[in-house]
């Protein structure tokens, strides 16, 4: 497969206590797939993403992308963060251009052209000279998406990218991400704790549970390219995932009447 995650474990020591953030995670991802890592906080979904993106390698086990083991971040894969990661001292255009500044084969003019094209793609061509702090949260995240697309990556990692946005803006950006993906089929690995978001976006949903963080199950979302948030099959899938989470209570419950 394109991405192979094999027997990945991750331990942290926090205040002298060792705890397991990821336990024996195995997962394979195809090129062009949209994967959502779904689970409550503490389930290790962001830890897993950081391991795949190379920011924080696993304690044991391997992550292999396209035949190469991941040890550090690569500019071929881009991460989009919840709090956008824009540089406040640069204007919007220069923020987007950052994606190509380490590429010596691209001229300054070409770099600006590509950046402007991607700003246009996310609907922000009129804000090239604005400062990030002058934009709303949703617009800032669009700038981050334009920056990611400018790098023309093979994989886009998204770490709860819409977590800080209001519900309406979030839905709009979910639609945008789907539209953008239709144009250029990047592999996307998307971390979220929002079941609806996962079902709406993903080809496969990786359901994770905490203490210790592990993959509970992987669900294929066969809803086709145009999805209806209020459709019957959409609800069925949400229901199914909700059931998986409640199965976590596998201890006996005592009743007294």
């Amino acid at each position: 497969m394109y991405i192979d995650i094999t027997n990945v474990n991750k331990q942290f020591t926090h205040k002298g206590k060792l705890f397991t953030a990821l336990e024996n995670v195995n997962l394979s991802i195809d090129r062009g797939e949209f994967i959502c890592l779904l689970g409550p906080s503490g389930c290790g979904k962001s830890t897993l993403l950081n391991a795949i993106a190379g920011f924080d390698p696993p304690s044991s086990g391997t992550v292999v992308i396209d035949g190469c083991e991941v040890r550090k971040p690569s500019s071929r894969n881009v991460t989009i963060f919840q709090n956008y990661g824009l540089l406040p001292w640069r204007n919007v255009l220069r923020n987007v251009e950052l994606a190509l500044e380490s590429r010596k084969d691209i001229t300054r003019a070409k770099r600006e052209e590509i950046a402007r094209k991607n700003l246009d793609l996310v609907g922000l061509s009129g804000f090239a000279d604005a400062s990030p702090h002058q934009l709303s949260g949703g617009m800032q995240q669009r700038v981050a998406i334009a920056r990611a697309l400018t790098a023309d990556p093979e994989i886009i990692f998204m770490d709860e990218p819409f977590g800080a946005l209001d519900a309406i803006t979030r839905m709009k950006l979910q639609d945008d991400i789907r539209a953008i993906r239709k144009e250029n089929r990047k592999t996307i690995i998307f971390v979220t704790h929002d079941i609806e978001e996962a079902v709406y976006l993903a080809d496969r949903v990786v359901v994770m549970t905490p203490n210790p963080g592990k993959v509970k199950s992987v669900i294929k979302v066969e809803l086709g390219p145009s999805r209806n948030r209020t459709g019957q099959d959409f609800f069925m899938l949400r229901q199914k995932i909700l059931e998986i989470f409640s199965m976590k209570h596998d201890y006996p419950i005592e009743y007294s009447i």
Partner: protein
């Protein structure tokens, strides 16, 4: 004139009114104190006496020379201190073991008044511009250095992640990410340093110089000209205030650009 402009002017006028009132009360208390006290006017000048002293050094042109000498020393010492402190602070803040190594000594040197070094400074550099410049350098260096170190240490993790992700180089990262990200904190260190450097300029010139606003204090004392002394002190305060206002303005502009505006 529009309503808004009138309100703006009114607001400004009121702010100015407070300033005027503040000085009026101060000058009144001072004037009354000098009028009703029995202290010799040569030792405790009245506000009017101080004004005469001020006009005298203004008229004979000596004040300009002293201001120019002080400004030259101040800016040379301050500029060298800021540049060295920012560069070394960034390096020490980035390579943390290096800072751990330097920090104990820095913490020991920092609380020492620059004046304590004066005998060494005069022995090494002689009388002239250098003692004041070196004093200012010592006074300005530590606040800027420490703010640069802590600014670099506290750079939000996400900027560094973004830099790593887009392959920003080892040296490029200094001017693309580290300096600008730490800059607001460095700026507040510079602001702090400016105040104490100006204070120590006067000390430095009182000991090792033959000109400047600090020297003028000694000169006035030796000639028992307390009116010139008070005039000089006022000029020192005024220039210190202007320097601070200048930096505050620059800092405000910069914070605005960074989107960190203080309300």
């Amino acid at each position: 004139m529009s309503n808004k402009a009138v309100r703006y002017l009114w607001k400004k006028a009121r702010a100015l009114g407070w300033v005027a009132l503040s000085f009026l009360i101060f000058l009144t208390v001072w004037g009354l104190a000098s009028y009703f006290s029995n202290v010799n006017a040569a030792l405790f000048p009245s506000p009017l006496g101080a004004l005469h002293g001020f006009l005298e050094v203004l008229a004979d042109g000596s004040l300009y020379g002293h201001i120019a000498a002080s400004m030259f020393r101040f800016w040379s010492g301050f500029a060298v201190a800021v540049v060295l402190a920012v560069v070394s602070g960034a390096v020490f803040g980035w390579y943390v073991p290096l800072f751990r190594l330097a920090n104990p000594v820095v913490q020991l040197l920092r609380p020492i008044s620059p004046i304590a070094w004066m005998p060494f400074i005069v022995l090494m550099f002689g009388i002239g511009d250098m003692p004041a410049i070196v004093t200012i350098f010592i006074a300005a260096f530590f606040p800027v250095f420490l703010s640069a170190v802590s600014g670099v240490m506290n750079i939000p993790e996400i900027y560094l992640k973004v830099a790593r992700n887009f392959g920003v180089g080892r040296f490029e990262i200094f001017w693309k990410i580290i300096f600008p990200a730490a800059f607001p904190q460095i700026m507040s260190g510079i602001h702090l340093a400016l105040g104490s450097a100006w204070v120590f300029l006067v000390c430095g010139e009182m000991i090792g110089a033959q000109s400047g606003l600090g020297y003028l204090i000694i000169d006035a004392r030796n000639n028992l000209r307390s009116d010139i002394l008070v005039a000089d002190i006022t000029v020192i305060g005024l220039i210190g205030f202007l320097l601070d206002a200048l930096l505050k303005f620059a800092e405000g502009r910069m914070l605005k650009r960074w989107g960190l505006e203080k309300e």
